[in-house]
């Protein structure tokens, strides 16, 4: 009980930010199309429910990748680093797992998707570790290297796909991965579907969401229960004191970025190890937006792994809801604006809390003084 209370009070600034962000979003809806504004807000709040259980499944599917990138960013935050490179790590991880999924057809049964997932994770890990190595050994700012590595990943992967048998020239994207390499549905398709006549119209959700939650728990344990987590957090809080205590802070930086990269790599693998009807890597000059949404998720979840699961689900919920806004003649980008506003408000909420406190104090003091004067009279 005590723990739940503590968690709620820790989450209250985030909840305030969400409410404020939604209100501001409502104003935007009012300005752009006043007639449908109420219905628009309802659509956003309903999120996946707009399309019943299938919509809910879509929320879980979308949440999978942003929970993992959120964990990636949040974990790096704990060690005092800003991982803006989740996008690139996700691309690299996704690409390698697609390669394994499509090419290593000699792997039997379930082993195939497992190996593909693992290789994607390792690839993301290497990509993240590169940032850590540059930071630890050459003192290059991680933000700069991560941003540059995002572009290197995107253009590099486009180049490789175009010049490899992975290229589906017709659709200008990667070919389908082998059936064995698709992440199993884990029975979730039997829950999250809508009936169209007698046809089960299932959502894209798969076992990935379970893997994402599993990783959240693992990260939670790693951060809070192990000596390794103790070292990483110490480095994040105070690098000098960590060095003084004999902690190898270079190792901490490298391993922290490697783990952050691995988590983003898993996100990429779970996104692209999809059935033929699912996602493919397009040859396009676009950085994977899931990486940047991970920053929002981590900020809103205050880098707490369990909090990140919830904020990931929430952001996915309103994003899916935002997709349905188009039926009301709104641009679906409105939802990106709202998410942006929520992030701003969550950064402000800490500031706001301090302001509120000092106002409250002044008031109670004035009241006291007033009483004192009254008594004298």
């Amino acid at each position: 009980m005590h723990k739940i209370k503590k968690g709620l009070s820790a989450a209250s600034p985030s909840i305030m930010a969400i409410v404020a962000g939604l209100l501001a979003g409502f104003i935007i809806l009012l300005i752009s199309n006043p007639v449908s504004a109420m219905r628009g807000l309802a659509t956003i709040l309903l999120g996946g429910w707009n399309n019943g259980m299938k919509g809910l499944g879509q929320v879980l599917y979308y949440a999978t990748s942003i929970i993992l990138t959120g964990l990636s960013v949040g974990f790096a935050f704990k060690t005092g680093m800003f991982n803006i490179g989740a996008s690139g790590q996700l691309m690299v991880g996704g690409f390698v797992s697609v390669y394994v999924g499509a090419m290593w057809t000699f792997l039997p049964g379930h082993l195939h998707w497992m190996v593909a997932l693992l290789m994607g994770m390792l690839a993301g890990m290497c990509w993240g570790m590169l940032v850590g190595i540059l930071k630890a050994l050459l003192n290059v700012n991680e933000v700069i290297t991560a941003i540059m590595l995002n572009y290197i990943a995107m253009y590099g992967i486009n180049f490789i796909i175009k010049n490899s048998p992975l290229h589906d020239r017709l659709r200008n994207q990667t070919i389908n991965v082998a059936a064995n390499a698709v992440i199993p549905k884990a029975g979730l398709d039997n829950i999250f579907y809508v009936l169209k006549g007698r046809f089960h119209d299932a959502s894209s959700v798969n076992g990935g969401i379970l893997i994402a939650v599993l990783f959240a728990v693992l990260v939670y344990i790693l951060i809070n229960k192990t000596t390794f987590g103790y070292e990483l957090k110490a480095c994040g809080y105070n690098q000098h004191a960590s060095r003084y205590a004999g902690i190898n802070e270079k190792k901490a930086i490298i391993s922290s970025m490697a783990i952050a990269g691995a988590l983003s790599g898993v996100a990429g693998a779970l996104m692209y190890l999809a059935p033929p009807t699912g996602m493919h890597i397009h040859v396009a000059e676009v950085l994977a937006p899931e990486g940047f949404n991970g920053i929002a998720v981590a900020l809103l979840g205050m880098s707490n792994p369990i909090g990140i699961v919830f904020t990931g689900l929430f952001i996915a919920h309103i994003t899916v809801g935002g997709g349905y806004l188009q039926s009301l003649k709104y641009m679906k980008e409105v939802i990106d604006v709202i998410i942006g506003l929520i992030i701003y408000f969550s950064a402000f909420s800490l500031l706001m809390r301090d302001v509120m406190r000092s106002i409250g104090k002044r008031r109670s003091k004035k009241a006291l003084e007033g009483e004192g004067k009254g008594a004298k009279r």
């Binding site: 229960k225 000596t227 390794f228 103790y230 809080y237 105070n238 004191a241 003084y244 004999g246 190898n248």
Partner: protein, 509 residues
Amino acid sequence: MSDYIIQMLHITKDFPGIRANDDVTLELKKGEIHALLGENGAGKSTLMSILFGLYQADGGEIHKDGKKVEIRNPNDANAQGIGMVHQHFKLVHNFTVLENIVLGVETTQNGLLKMDQARKKVMDLSERYGLRIDPDAYISDITVGMQQRVEILKMLYRDNDILIFDEPTAVLTPQEIEELMNIMQGLAKEGKSILFITHKLNEIKQVADRCTVLRKGAYVGTVQVQDTSVEEMAEMMVGRKISFTIDKQEARPGDTALKVQGLTVDGRHGKKAVNNVSFDVRQGEIVCIAGIDGNGQSELVYALTGLMPISAGTISLMGQDITSTTIRQRNDKGLAHIPEDRHQYGLVLDYDLQQNLALKNYYSDQMQSHGFIRFGQVRDQAEALIERFDVRSGRGPETVVRSMSGGNQQKAIIAREINEDPQVLIAVQPTRGLDVGATIYIHEQLVKERDNGKGILLISLELDEVFQLADRILVIYEGAIVAELNGKEATAQELGLYMAGSRREETHA
């Protein structure tokens, strides 16, 4: 016309959660040197900041020459003739002495500087009060003592006649302190009124006429210094009787614990921060490295503890060469370190107390199994150390260290380091910024560890501390050890000469 030039009557000032001044009255006579005595956190600086207009009092009045005045900011204070020498000087380093003095009150003609008049006034003042300066030297090139004289001239140049000195002796050598005392007496003789903030009783005894004592924000009393003994003033300050001399037996040194040979550390600008330093520390003795701040003490300690690379020399601990080992290996071999900056190095301020107390042993088999921290053990250790070292905090082992007082933070560090059962304990300014009670406690702990057969290397800037604790004194000047003195026989004068670099033992260098 009042006897008093400044009266601060019933001043009260609140900060969130603490009353810094509670009905404090301070009355300054014209031409007197009035000491303001109190421990750290007693509210001295707050009171002076109110007088200087940096804070506004929540209650009480300030009178000048018997008339009530409002001081809202330092400009108001300046207009009332109040000037202040801050503990950390407020000088522009790449300006000359003269430029610093006139800064803000430049004499101009048609928008052009007229430095000649200013120069004449400064040189007159300098001569009249015996404040030796070189008006054309850059601040960055002159000694701390001269910088302080520049600060004093700044006040005089603005025709201030109420001068506040905030802990002016903390950064000076004994000789410079002597000179400052003479200057202060000269200023008082010329009719200036001086407020002198300090916690050093000997200095008060030497120059002050009267002394006002604060304790925990409250006014304790004002005494005539002549009629009051040092012990009585100390008791007023602390609120109980204290013994200044700690019980310290003759040292019985054993084997060499720490041996340093030819240690050299490169500094900035191609200079050597530590230059060919050799010494050793034996078990059961306290060796003190005395010197003025910035003469290579920090670099020496960083080199010994492994925080900074060395360019030459060897270090050995209990006969084992540790020159090229990591920080962790040195810790494990028995080198403990109470760092100079407890916030930057000594503590992870956002960790709670139990986590900080485990900072040096969280990886030991006692505190973890298979990589998982044994929280029960961490807590037990914290509770035992809190009990043994009397570390006070709001929520025990779970107190976030940032919220603890400086004295208790320092106690926590000392508890952690002593708990490691080291062979050699390096303590760098272990009592910096602490009140008398905590200082004595920490001194006692160091002596106790010495008597337990540990080698103690103490780096201190406070001469009182050096004489109090040291069995042997090494004087460091510009990165080199210039003298080795016996802790019992050395005098402050002698030590001061070495510290200022005006004498060196040729045999030792």
